[in-house]
Amino acid sequence: MMCDDAGLLLHAYLDDELDAADSAAMARHLHECAACKARYETYAIMQKALSEPSLYRRAPEALKARWTTPAPAPAATVTPLPVRRRTPMAFATAAGFVAAMLISAPAWMHWLPSRGTDNAIVAQAISGHVRSLQGEHLMDVISTDQHTVKPWFEGKLDFSPRVKDLAGEGFPLVGGRLDALDGHSVAALVYKRRLHVINLFQWPSEGAPAPLAVAQEHGYTVIRWTGDGMHYVAISDVNEGDLKQFVLAFQNEANPLR
């Protein structure tokens, strides 16, 4: 590969948008060419700097309030802020019901399982994920070190979960906790993707390996698979591509390109 080609592909490589062949060629080139390697590192630093949370502009509460139905209980205290344009009437009629649904999200998500075991697991995973983001439930053991997280599970579960730090892949391990899914005690590993939280549940499986199954529910992506005698469920609000990348990274930590 020539440096000219590399100049453009560099960015796609940084974004993990290259196919396997180009990605391998790029990795080789970066290994051989110090100039391109330095350039790559500069852009990697810039990318990391841009993930600074304060650069992300979140919608002001007033704007959010305009588009979300107020909670039924404290409805009286909600003061509508100056509305520049009329909120559609139809929208207002949705009122309390949706708010109640949203506020009690973890509870009503249990209704979903009626569509079969697979959906039950997806729904429970979402429920577990949402619950984990409330209050201090996210982690029981906080560590970025896989050699701290893995032993922590010892004696708490009847199996030994696979724990890997994927910081090199952009998914740092931040901790773990116990959870329950599908009637089993499961290990939940907590990873971060920039500001997003990824929960990875795992528990022993008797069955044959099963390929990735991707589901989208309520803005969450859920990926399930079975391998190495374990059921795995990964869930996050990152986009599907990122979560797939996470799963691939977890499945194959010894990626020679990295």
Binding site: D15, E17, T42, M46, P60, W67
Partner: protein, 190 residues
């Protein structure tokens, strides 16, 4: 943008609104983030998002599944450019001419690395100096963490265009960040 839906008023408006609130409203932060970076100020960003949300609600019947975030961000982007009465393609030629700004990428200097490593406010200022067509690339990719395919869906560009424009956006951003040291160091043409 999709055409307005001419269906008669529906009896299940409430259900529709509930679906809208469940599927689209969660991306209000994403919509606002893009609008704010495009319009540079809070008041305009709120107007853009409010208008975009009204449009989204109006066209919601033509949204058949798929990625609601991509769908909404495309509306936000279109709304921004129409509210500004600016054709993005026109402004693109003003602000971004490939012949004027050839893809020149010098190796990074030590200054580059240190500058990039530290100052968030410098980063913010540099990003705001980028022309909108490049700025939106950085915002969608780095802040919104969209894939190339999603960016292509939002901006209506080909994936190849997304790739090269993002490359250019990053080069310009790096130039902005290291502009002064470079100019002082050697008087090269831009």
């Amino acid at each position: 943008m999709t055409e307005p839906n001419a269906r008669s008023p529906r009896t299940d408006d409430a259900a529709r609104s509930a679906r809208f609130e469940a599927q689209v409203v969660p991306y209000l932060d994403a919509a606002y983030n893009l609008a704010h970076w495009l319009s540079h100020n809070t008041a305009d960003a709120q107007d853009v998002v409010q208008e975009a949300m009204l449009r989204a609600l109006r066209y919601f019947d033509s949204f058949h599944g798929g990625d609601a975030r991509v769908w909404l961000l495309a509306i936000v982007r279109n709304t921004f450019y129409t509210l500004r009465s600016r054709d993005p393609q026109d402004s693109l030629h003003d602000e971004l001419d490939d012949r004027l700004h050839p893809l020149v990428d010098d190796g990074p200097s030590p200054e580059t690395l240190t500058l990039l490593a530290v100052d968030v406010s410098a980063l913010q200022a540099a990003l705001e100096r980028l022309p909108a067509p490049l700025r939106e690339m950085i915002v969608l990719r780095e802040l919104e963490e969209c894939s190339y395919k999603e960016i292509a869906g939002i901006t209506g560009q080909k994936i190849g265009t997304v790739m090269s424009r993002l490359a250019r956006a990053r080069e310009r951003l790096r130039e902005e960040l290291t502009h002064r040291p470079r100019e002082a160091r050697r008087h090269d043409v831009r």
